[in-house]
């Protein structure tokens, strides 16, 4: 089912001094979706978000909200009363939690009879109902961000902009808030834009993903599509596709291709899904969670790629361990603590790494020939 477009951005450009810091030819936001903007610090996520929220003067381009162009100041002011934004810093006022949550409603002219129930209801939903009378400056980081979110949701915004709302929280506060925010976004069917540099946050909250670098969107698409089929090496690395293999297509046909790894690849061949011209230089990406490790080669497995290798490093990654392997080329795999113990993995261990051809994703890139 196609959803109505709520916000259309065309040819958005923002300059800081003489430098262009944002250049987005086209970006649409559809009703009920959460668009996750991902990118490293300085990629332009916050700039894009402020531009989309009408809070930043544009040096070019246009914004249309529900079909109407936000051309002048009155239109932008009216638009600002239909959306809201939560920043990394909760930016609460020197007042009580209840007064903070009520601020936006008060600014938008809601009478006290409407404000009070809304404040109570949203404080309850965000788990801060018991803190309504507390001064905002006495709150913990997590409580303060919950207050900021309650203040935003109480407005019933038609678009909710969330600018790295978890970035300054500690892990337990972040986890709890991620769960609650995910639940509330789903229950309310909110249309939202979330900026983050964390792929786990994007994966948990986002429906669509846009990966940014240097003020430009490199790729936009469905969450799985971008995560599994990045079109650019930067996007691939950023969405956690930790193994990127470069080489030449040895053969191709029937939707499968054989990649002969280039420099440093020791002539290994990798079977991947995709079509490419034989001789063409391409890049293939493999997510670490798609790589299986075993002590011996398993002939009965459906994995078409199996390589013996040596463990070079084991790095804890939250609930998993990342195992880095030297198979004649670099390969990364995620394993659980249990697997790590059972396989007795550690630097120097010999192991067989395997992955299916469908886990090896073709990333085309122009200009690769000159680099091989």
């Amino acid at each position: 089912m196609s959803r109505a477009t709520v916000l259309e951005a065309r040819n958005l450009k923002v300059h800081r001094g003489q430098t262009q810091v944002l250049d987005v030819p086209a970006l649409d936001l559809r009703a009920g979706e959460v668009l996750a903007l991902m990118g490293p610090n300085g990629a332009g996520k916050s700039t894009l978000m402020l531009a989309l929220a009408g809070l930043l003067p544009l040096s070019g381009g246009s914004l249309r909200f529900k079909g109407a162009e936000l051309a002048g100041r009155p239109e932008r002011e009216a638009y600002r009363r239909r959306m809201t934004m939560v920043f990394q810093d909760p930016l609460l006022f020197d007042a009580t939690v209840a007064q903070n949550i009520a601020t936006g409603l008060k600014l938008r002219g809601a009478p006290a009879t409407l404000r009070e129930p809304a404040v109570r209801a949203w404080a309850q939903r965000l788990g801060i109902g018991h803190l309504l009378g507390r001064p905002a400056r006495q709150l913990s980081g997590g409580e303060a961000q919950r207050t900021a979110l309650a203040r935003a949701f109480a407005l019933g915004p038609e678009i909710l902009f969330l600018d790295e709302p978890f970035a300054s929280l500690d892990a337990p506060a972040r986890e709890g808030l991620l769960d609650d925010l995910g639940r509330i976004l789903a229950e309310t069917g909110s249309t939202a834009v979330l900026s983050t540099h964390d792929q786990a946050e994007a994966a948990r909250l986002g429906h669509r993903l846009a990966v940014m670098k240097d003020g430009v969107i490199l790729q936009t698409g469905g969450l799985r599509e971008v995560m599994n089929h990045p079109e650019d090496p930067f996007v691939a690395a950023f969405v956690g596709m930790e193994t990127l293999l470069k080489g030449q297509v040895a053969s191709s046909g029937g939707g499968l291709l054989t990649l002969r790894l280039g420099r440093g690849g020791d002539g290994h061949e990798v079977l991947a899904v995709g079509e490419a011209r034989p001789g063409q230089t391409i890049l293939v990406g493999i997510r670490p969670e798609h790589v299986a490790l075993s002590l011996h080669s398993d002939k009965s497995s459906s994995a078409r790629n199996a390589f013996p290798g040596t463990v070079t490093k084991v790095v804890p990654r939250g609930p998993f361990f990342k195992v880095e392997l030297d198979c004649g080329f670099f390969l990364a795999a995620y394993v659980t603590a249990q697997s790590l113990a059972e396989l007795e993995l550690g630097p120097g261990s010999t192991i067989v790494a395997s992955f299916k051809a469908t886990a090896a994703h073709l990333i085309r890139r122009e200009g690769l020939e000159s680099e091989v």
Binding site: L50, A53, L55, E77, R80, R81, M83, T84, M85, F87, D89, L91, F93, D94, A95, T96, T103, G104, L107, R108, R134, P135, A136, R137, Q138, R151, L155, F161
Partner: protein, 232 residues
Amino acid sequence: MDLIWEGLRKALELLLTLDPEVLRITMLSLEVSGLATLISLVIGLGIAIPVALTEFPGKRLVIALLNTGMGLPPVVVGLFVTVLLWRNGPLGFLEILYTPAAMILAQAVIASPIIAGISLSALQHLPPGLRLQILALGASRPQMVWLLLKEARLPLLAAVMAGFGGVISEVGASIMVGGNIKGQTRVLTTATVMETSKGNFEVAFALSILLLVLAFTVNAVLTHLQQRNRPR
């Protein structure tokens, strides 16, 4: 020490007997400095708000000038205001020299940069994203300015206190533009100077003590306002 005790006794006596001249001097001091502070608050915020909220070439120079203005010597202000209001001066037609109006004008010139400078600093010290957050909550521009001022209310009241403190205690400008005319422009500071020069130390002490009490009372009221709605 005897002089001080005598001064205290005299002050108490003047207060308890409600000496009409002392009462008039005290009320005029309060009126002149209070009005000058109010005018300075309007002027000071009128300067501080646009300077704090907009970017323009030469902003740093404006801030440096404001900060310099915070230390304007009252006698210099007195001199300039006298020349301005002199019969043949640019504002001579107002005919307010040697009236309380002239004293209010001079004191407003002294207090405005103080209030503007402290207010500017207060607004600049608010979290950088707060303005955007307020706008994102749907505020109009006047609503945004009001919320920012409310958020900076503690240092803003400190600015008012500093401004009032600066003018209630100054003597140079008041004596130059007011003339210390009995019953018309005599305020606590100018009267204290006069009584000291006449050798009437007890009266001078009494007037000084009244000045301190007045300054304390006004600041106590402002402090109460400052701390009243502060969540604890």
